[in-house]
Subunit: 369 residues, 4 copies
């Protein structure tokens, strides 16, 4: 799409005294899959975004239901799930299970709508990766080449102004890849990674809100377990982007092992790197400082970060250290899986696509303790 359409209804919201209209026109957005956890985070953040007007919410089987039924904490927004999205919409966020977005996206793009897909359907560039990792043939392989992998710290140039182009699709990254790639990008860009073990820990909200026997409180509490052994789907994204950064495929496959830990939000990705050559802490410090000095959402920290340092915010903290004894490099990334790992990052990409300040709507500081 070319131009965000102005909304003429900024009036009632201004009356709430809650948010200020910037420039007089708000971008009209919709959310499909609004009743899941990621959908809830999109509502929470976009509701307070100074340049956005939410004009439609969709969720299968929940038409005309107040949002507060599924998101009790958002009852105060007064919003209701809609039967359909309005025609005059500028952007749509999709928070759907894998395989569900592809056909919807085609139609939206044809209408000039910018699409930010938070599922995996537009993250992978090679169509062959879909049958391999997700078990389905991608129905719109031609759109894959046009989609942008929505990690702003890696693809900012492609995202900037994307809404002004004829085909505007963002494949918003997975939560594990976000924490992992931000931890590793400076090393990958220099081609320094010879061998890689990624051992990640996630809160359980990443598994979605569907009630499953293994996700009840009694099963998760006071418990930690590994899962996805032998090939979690997020490996595909990690390998794709590391390969792209380093200008060639990783010599050996990435060993990626995720764990479920008893917390609701947060991902910590510990990346154990064997470098192609010895590398000092001084060199690492310079490398990471240069990479992230100007990033509004990535901070390089000297002390090992913890997930609560970024809770509820779009921030990522990265730590890197050289281990003289083993010759390895350890890079750690922490994020809130539902914000920088999902809704927040999607909005960051959206901001770029619509030429807004990248931090618009995302200024909220982390919540601790």
């Amino acid at each position: 799409m070319v131009q965000p359409r102005a909304t003429d209804d900024a009036q009632p919201r201004a009356a709430e005294g809650m948010t200020a209209v910037v420039g007089g026109a708000r971008i009209r957005v919709g959310i499909i899959g609004a009743t899941g956890y990621v959908g809830g985070e999109l509502v929470r953040i976009l509701e307070r975004h100074p340049n956005v007007r939410i004009i439609g919410l969709q969720a299968r089987g929940r038409e005309r239901e107040p949002v507060g039924v599924t998101h009790a904490h958002l009852a105060g927004t007064g919003r209701t799930v809609d039967a359909a999205l309005p025609e005059d919409i500028d952007a749509v966020f999709l928070a759907l299970p894998h395989g569900a977005a592809a056909s919807i996206v085609r139609d939206l793009v044809a209408r000039g709508v910018t699409v930010i897909d938070l599922g995996p359907d537009f993250r992978l560039r090679d169509p062959a990766d879909y049958p391999r990792w997700y078990g389905f043939e991608h129905p719109q392989p031609e759109l894959l080449a046009q989609a942008v992998y929505g990690l702003p710290e890696l693809h900012r140039t492609e995202l900037a102004g994307l809404a002004r182009t004829p085909v505007s699709i963002v494949g918003s990254p997975g939560c594990y890849p976000t924490a992992t790639l931000l931890a590793l990008a400076p090393l990958a860009r220099e081609g320094l990674i010879e061998d890689l073990v990624v051992d990640a820990k996630s809160g359980v909200s990443g598994a979605g809100r569907e009630a499953k026997p293994e996700l009840t409180y009694s099963e998760i509490n006071e418990n930690v377990r590994a899962y996805g052994i032998g090939g979690h789907r997020h490996v595909a994204e990690i390998e794709q982007e590391l390969g792209w950064l380093s200008g060639g495929p990783a010599a050996r496959g990435v060993d990626f092992l995720p764990h479920l830990v008893p917390m609701t939000r947060g991902i910590l990705s510990a990346c154990h790197v064997r470098p192609v050559r010895p590398i000092s802490q001084t060199e690492l410090d310079a490398l990471y400082r240069d990479a992230y000095a100007d990033e509004p959402f990535v901070t390089v920290v000297a002390a090992p970060p913890s997930t609560k340092h970024v809770l509820g915010s779009n921030h990522c903290r990265v730590h890197v250290s050289a281990d003289e004894r083993t010759g390895r490099v350890l890079a750690i990334g922490v994020i809130d899986n539902l914000v920088k790992g999902a809704a927040g990052q999607a909005i960051q990409a959206f901001d770029l696509a619509f030429d807004l300040p990248e931090t618009a709507g995302l200024e909220q500081l982390p919540l601790a303790p």
Copy 2:
């Protein structure tokens, strides 16, 4: 004090694109006790308040230490603990242990500074309550009469424009009294409470951040216990305000029992009321609807609320139900103890005192899951 002094440095912050200056002048505030949990919440919220400029932070023994040392999640603010507060300050928030604020407040008030004290030193109107409940003689009893109990839903008139009066002191309520009084105020105002049992549950952040053996994770996790049996100090506030609302002392003392439950934030106060006369659900509904219809931060809900519905926000949810079998009324209030129960409420009172919109800086929606 009479007029908020204009700051001439709104420029650099506007450049951050983070917050908009409203009206061109920000109120200059300081925080004393900035390194505790409540202090951290004051920094978190005031840092994004559109009408505020934090010009000083104090914390004993931590002068010149970056805020990120104690509040790792706030390292991004770049703030540092100051050795002293600047002279030209409009308002000071105090987050100190009981007994520590009284003398500081006298000096600040003499200089025309508005004081919002988040400790108990200015909550009780009767000087005799201090030796009785807190074990110290109040050093400035004459100031007690001039302080306003900072629960905006009960004392809005006294708070409005308070900063324009010669003596401007807010005694910001305790966390338990906030949840309890908001649950009970409509009944108390009508003189309907004959007998009262308040059974409250709190997350452990209310106990502060000092390391104590009984507050370690291993001791709190998978554990619930009652404490303060036979007279928690917050009873004093609850009885004072219920008496004030009903126009006379409660016939019998309030039976108040707090519990520590394994969570970080949140208070749920279950108020078991024996009413002076039978009262129907219909009457209760009307009573509560009328009381809270226009309140921006209090919502009456039909389903029993839970603490996570308000996490990280300044909201309070209240539920009331009549039990035909027992003839009792149950009123429940839930809040985030560090926001509506502390920092957020103090800022709400501050907003009123400075003639700002009551919601300024407090628009953040609750964070769930």
Copy 3:
């Protein structure tokens, strides 16, 4: 039934070197509903009971499935769910939803089998209580009068040797009633309770292991909420037994409010009592000391107890205090809801019924931290 049938197969178990056969004969028991949380606790404890041989496990739809499929922690027992219970069985534990036990019990009793029902179907003596509280007509009202309410501290005489009587049915108490009645029994026996508010807090394992949206980790964690407002079913048991203890119905209905707190196990029941006459701490101390001096599983403690003091054990701790200010008495009981509140208590009653030492199989000390 009259005599526990001797088992001739103590041999193989002795070979395990795990448990010693006492007296040469083990009581042959079965568990129906073995795959729920209570069923799992029955297996865990009975597997190590020196006088028991588990000879059959049942669970609908899980026939021939290894127990480790549902109870991973019990995989080492090597047990499998059976298609049917053997004929020559001495006792059966039922851990079923309400309404499911009544007909099964009739058949078992007719065969001379001792039945310990952990559901509510045999707890209430008045058949009219079933339609009122549970919504079904009791199909075997004549058996109700013969069942014993299995709280050993209140009904030890009726339980002792029960297995030797023609009709041997134990209605094992609910978790909330257990904590509540043990906290209140000494007061109730003396007719000292005029008015009663019971405010209880439970871990979520009490809600069973079925996956429900409101019981996922993300919904329970960092959250507390009340439920069952206006009449939780356990009120029926509490009122029945308090009435029986005091020799008459409670003057006013019991105000009982349960809460779900973010932990897996444990119940704390805070009982706020308005006594019929003033009562001193000294009198309370003597009353409780006398009541529980010889009880192997109930300890009266001076400091407020917490649920972790009894985790994983069959113990109950009781605290009582007089509040001079309000004239009320506070009585607190804490238990592990799955042990003293379910499986452990059922085994304690079983031990009595079979003339075993009351502590047999229940010696395990609490697990902390």
Copy 4:
């Protein structure tokens, strides 16, 4: 020491009806450091050990204090901290900070007492490892050569009957090494490990019960973080034993990274192995089955284990899988850090040293949910 001295006081305990005396004589044991978490677990388990009589408890600065003051859950044992251990003692368990045991051990050994040290002072065979990893010179290097590393699955032969030898010292393994070595031993014995990353997750009880600001509930809850980056002390044990198993030092240093996760108990150690040659799942299965078929406390499981599968028990579960894509082997071990990772394992070694069944006192099944 040569013979466990018979105790003549089995009488009073038999009267409790709790535990049966086996063989008529109990081994007389003492615990030094009884008030820490590991000390509490030693009391909990030994109190029910059929062959043990606890005759002395020590804890600095807590002489004559009831055990229930620090271990509220153990108040029912009626035990008190002693001023000194009796002379006629057979075995002493030491649960002390590093550096504190060495001199005590010398004196005990000289008196013929068997010592099981749960700290690190007798785990490492090379005296140079103490200044390197622990920062102190070992005061009794000559005793190091005589101490046995108390991992029964690796050193059963040396432990068996150790109490009958003149110098009887067990250096009981650390919690991380236990989970890690049991996961890796079958691979290490075959010399199959070329390169190793160990990424471990622990509950916070492993950090002890001292109140530290970073261990309060509010800081740990909803949080995960790595620590000990660049060389946790447990690396020394892991490298020592892996080297011993494989008959030579690991070619490259072990990359070991521990994490603190929000739970009280449990360790999961994920061991990412690059094998020296390709190895199939079939070969792995056979290797692990053979290694652990007869072990009473180690179970090889096909599905990834979680820490709650072993909570409160002395069990360890091990999972191993070959990843065809990456050519790596993943081996996972889970234990309860306070049982198999500390007190339980020490008692297992004690049982062996005194020619008791290895499972004596350790029969307790895991506690879940």
